[in-house]
Amino acid sequence: MTRRPGRALLVPAILLLLATLDWSYVGTEQFVNALTIGAVYALIALGYTMVYGIIELINFAHGDVFMVGSFVTYWLLSSLGFNGTISDLPLLVVVLVGTFLAAMVVMGGIGVVIERFAYRPLRNAPRLAPLITAIGVSFILQNIIQIFFGPSPISAPQVIDVQARVNLGGVDVSVVKLFVIAVAFILMIALQTFVSRTRMGRAMRSTAIDRDAAQLMGVDINTTIAVTFFIGSALAGAAGVVQVLYLGTTNFQLGFQAGLKAFTSAVLGGIGNITGAALGGFLIGFIEVNSTVAGFSRWSEAIVFGILVLVLVFRPTGLLGQQLGERA
């Protein structure tokens, strides 16, 4: 399908315009809030979209992978003895990098294990079978966390000083929020580069388009799918770290609704499309913040899903359509 070059710029242009208008409506602080919430949704949505793109599975356990990620972060930080703000900058950097790496690797590993045991045996089963195992896995993850950490919400250490602010154009903006947004962008760019530039990325894309053909061309399907799960779950793990840094709390039920909204983000942007998932995540963040600002916090969920319905009815492939895994 060919596109006129002008079309490619149309969507970003409209979004930029909308963002500017919204900025003037909600103000800088709320704008940053929206970006921060959106960044978390976007990070989770990336995993959804990648997994869907490659094996067409709505991985409902993915939200719980995010939840487990936040508990891993909590466990890691508190067992290392950090229980508050770290003011020593070099130490802070080391702790942050270490936490992100550890949480991402651990969650990536868990993702691979889940894929291996719960989804791979069902790869040729009816399409809904893995969906049900995904729900089962989600329950299992929740319960395991509940057994180990208890059912109450957890107060987790926030190593970055949450009260620190920088002045941006006359408005004080929280440093943590900026950090969260920056991390999300860095990870997204890294992912995009990986998928478009590396051999494994190409293998992933070709598997998404036609698994059988990719296999004939010498792509190792099992490894490719495992890597997809690793990356997707690692990103959810990163989102878990972000959750702890930003809100300093977590609980074993966090995953389900977050997952639902992240999945909505992925669909909103065009499922299977990495940029779309990121865009969708930020959009949901903006919708939520705007409905709160407008005094409809009670309805925010209905508004999020209402907009989703409208977008899909008028643009059934999501805002950016499908790139990763085009199917008739």
Partner: protein, 439 residues
Amino acid sequence: MKLARVGAALAIASIVVGACSGSATTAPSAGGGASAAPASAAPSAVGGASAAPASAAAGAVDVKIGIELPLSGADLPNGQPTLNGVKLALAQIPVPGFNVTLNVQDDAVNGVHDPQQGAKNIQTLVNDASVMGVVGPFNSNVAKAEIPIGNAAGLVQCSPANTNISLTKPEFGAGDLRKTNPDKIAYVRVATTDDIQGAAGADIAYTIVKARKAFVIDDTETYGKALSDQFVATFTKLGGTVIGGSSHGVPKSGQGDFTSLLSLAKKDSPDFVFFGGVTATGGGLLRKQMVTAGMGAIPMGGGDGLSDGAASVKGSFLNLAGDQGDPNTYMTVAATHDIPNPTKLAADYKAMFGAEPGAYSASGYACAQVILEALKNVGADRAKVRAYVTDPSHTYDTVLGKFQFDKNGDTTQRIISDYTFDPGTKDWKFVSQKDFGAG
């Protein structure tokens, strides 16, 4: 495929290992078919016939107290400590001539309290002829499904936690719930109703904090919404202003993130923030994020849903809210005022279960006391137990203090106590109490 099965087996094994760490009891005998004996509660009378104390001699009559609480999933922190309170009462209070065990029913389905399951459970308890009274339920909507059944069967229920006004007061539709036997109520509760608590919250905000401009948030659930609505009504009546004119609902699904709502609130510079809800629906996080958002100096208040222990208790409001905030700013209203001997209950509880008591452990204990008291006085007759418990002339001397039930089954103890955060002990500190009278 094979590997997957091994994985499942391992997961099951992990439960078994996790669960057997403290198991030193022998398997209970068949006598306690429906008794749920905790592995760690061996000394209690609940443990089954073989381990039963001497009081349960040959001539003792077997009777049961029904438990109808949410005991799995997210509601476990509500149900389990309450159940433990009942267990503690059974272990401590001798009932000569009776061998009292429990019939435990869990109303959580897929981890969330479910009215349909609750109705089924109460039916099961009704059908168990040895059940003399029921402690529970925990949630108001479960109660609405259960009260008609208990009323029809004449099985008395004592709720440790329900606060919704429509459960008991005829002017709010409670009469419809007990249509079968309008004169024989079978539902009592030891918690004060939302209207009193919400009003008391407004009273604190207006008279003690001297706030004039409040921002109100609720969790859109039955308890939280009722509390907030009452707060808004009373606070406005007293002469204060509520920003936006009503409460802002934050559904539980949005749990954990109040930042954008707080940014909104900050613009109108409120001098009080009221939260209608419980810790699990975001109470502690709200306070924590107020501090983050630079609103730590603004006092915040809530109902007894926030009264769940000191900052050292994991998952409590104070624990989540963090202790780096401005001192003397957290306030709450508890339905139960300073109970007669709180330290003893806490110590006994800790000795038996190895944990701090929960918010409703004492209430569960009190409910058990009420039912046992009736049992001692009228014997193992369900109808008489019901009649005794609901008789407004009887006074109960419980761990919650002395109280009666009025003709609707509400406690006459309408004392509201005000607490504030004490940065020294990192716990709630009693401020004052106010008696809202007999209705």
